[in-house]
Amino acid sequence: MEVSKGKTQIEAVKKDIWAPEYFGDNPDYHTMYELKRLVYLAPVEKILNLARAHSIWPLGFGLACCAIEALMGANGPRYDLSRFGYEVMRGTPRQADVMVVAGTITKKAAPFVVRLWEQMSEPKWCIAVGSCAISGGPFVDSYHVVPGANKLVPVDVYVPGCPPRPDAVLEAFLMLKDKILDKRERILDKRKVVTG
């Protein structure tokens, strides 16, 4: 079957590149990854996390439709990611903190997605934007689509939608911030709706 063949390809990609501790039979390897980092935490790291949480630079890297909304739209004048200081799009993975996987990951693109992720310097996070990045979305049954970014990289925040509204992407960034700060519960205050 096409699909399973594709899967082994990705498995091969992973085997090549991934350190063994990241993947395994446990499907929740991203939680494992998270756990590892928490163990890594030291008091100093707490303070540094404060800085990190307020300066998440995304990797300028869009795959498909969602990229327009998640990267361009959210950076656009209305939603303005820059208010949180997250607008500094870096072209190179060395300077980026978060990989926003926005769009369909095809089997051809999978190796370089993994490669980019691996080349990002620690600490790093990943946000999967859109159905495609979460699970393959509309194209799950296609022969050339990877069913979800979490098959390749550990994802921190999932943003369902096709494409999600930029607000949701902002929300995802804020959720990531809370995750970095180790505040799991986000208290959403009452918003005032602005017209115009």
Binding site: L48, R52, S55, P77, R83, F84, E87, R94, S121
Partner: protein, 350 residues
């Protein structure tokens, strides 16, 4: 009182140390060190503020708001950025020339800090007011080219290499108009000493007598600092991040810091050479000289930023052509005209 605030502090320190009975040289060295630390802190704070300002200015020109969440009005945004960058991993590519790769970000800040030694921030407020001030500044500033190149070359990545070749070609090409542009001012002032040059502008700022030189200098200086519209080096939409492609974390922050410090240098320099330094315009002397200096400097910095957020990027061949075919001949012509003008003036006036 305010006027001589910093000078007074230095004197007070000197007298304090004088009482200790240590040799004069040591005392001087300590005073110098204190000045140096003050300058360093000044640069860092200003660089942080400038990054913030840049982002704000950019946002405001783009119908956005810009950083406003971290700290009051987002003022701590860049602090957070630096904090993050310090704690971010520096990846040394396996094929890189490791020593050179790490040396480049260490050294990139050296020329920048060293040129600050001669910049008079106010009346008598230069750390060192040396005889050949301007020339010293040019000489030291020319070193940074090499460090940029080191960084790009050592990364052993193609985008870095292209970036570093560009950076060298560009900085080299624009250094010349910069140097030649300043010559007109030197001719009028008759000295390379910063304080003399400023003193010569007591009545007329040189921007009025040397408008072409100012334009040449400013253009070339913007290009020297790799700012838009001459930011081919970083040219994000073309060569990713140029020589910094492989640099992450603090190493990248160093380049970043140096860039903003350099903006300060060129704007301070323009203030000194063309805008009368710390001289107050319209006889508004009651405001301390250093306040004037900063006001002028920041006005220029704002212009630099506005340029960046208004203009598209120029292409490499146009960039080179512009320097060699427009600015250099123009600068030479400016020298010529200045010379003739001064000779005529001498013949009539003296």
């Amino acid at each position: 009182m305010l006027e001589n605030l910093f000078v007074g502090i230095a004197d007070w320190l000197r007298s304090l140390l004088g009482g200790l009975g240590t040799p004069v040289e040591i005392n001087e060295a300590i005073v110098m060190l204190v000045k140096l630390v003050a300058i360093l802190v000044f640069i860092l704070i200003n660089a942080l503020w400038l990054v913030y300002m840049e982002r704000k200015v950019a946002a405001y020109m783009q119908a956005r708001i810009g950083p406003n969440r971290v700290g009051p009005k987002g003022l701590l945004q860049t602090t957070a950025d630096i904090g993050k960058l310090i704690s971010k991993e520096i990846v040394i590519p396996g094929k890189a020339d490791k020593v050179v790769f790490l040396l480049a970000p260490v050294l990139i800040f050296v020329p920048t800090l060293m040129v600050f030694a001669v910049i008079p921030f106010g009346k008598n407020m230069a750390a060192i007011d040396m005889n050949i001030g301007v020339f010293y500044l040019l000489a030291i500033a020319s070193l940074s080219t090499l460090f940029f190149w080191m960084g790009g070359w050592a990364s052993n990545s193609k985008y870095s290499l292209i970036g570093s070749m560009r950076v060298v070609a560009q900085m080299v090409s624009y250094e010349l108009p910069l140097v030649l542009g300043l010559l007109g001012v030197i001719m009028i002032a008759g000295s390379l000493k910063m304080s003399d040059i400023i003193a010569a502008q007591e009545h007329t700022w040189f921007i009025f007598t040397q408008p072409i030189a100012f334009l040449i200098y400013f253009t070339a200086a913007v290009a020297e600092t790799n700012r838009c519209p001459f930011d081919l080096v970083e040219g994000e939409s073309e060569i990713i991040a140029g020589p910094y492609t492989e640099y992450g974390g603090m190493a990248f922050a160093m380049f970043f810091l140096a860039e903003y410090a350099n903006i300060m240098v060129i704007c301070a320099m323009a203030t000194i050479m063309f805008l009368g330094g710390w001289h107050a315009p319209f006889g508004l002397d009651f405001i301390p000289s250093w306040v004037w200096f900063f006001l002028k400097m920041y006005a220029l910095i704002f212009v630099v930023m506005q340029l960046r957020w208004t203009y598209p990027r120029i292409r490499v061949d146009q960039l080179m052509g512009f320097s060699w075919k427009v600015l250099v001949p123009l600068a030479l012509a400016n020298i010529f005209i200045t010379g003739i003008g001064m000779k005529i003036y001498q013949a009539i006036g003296w």
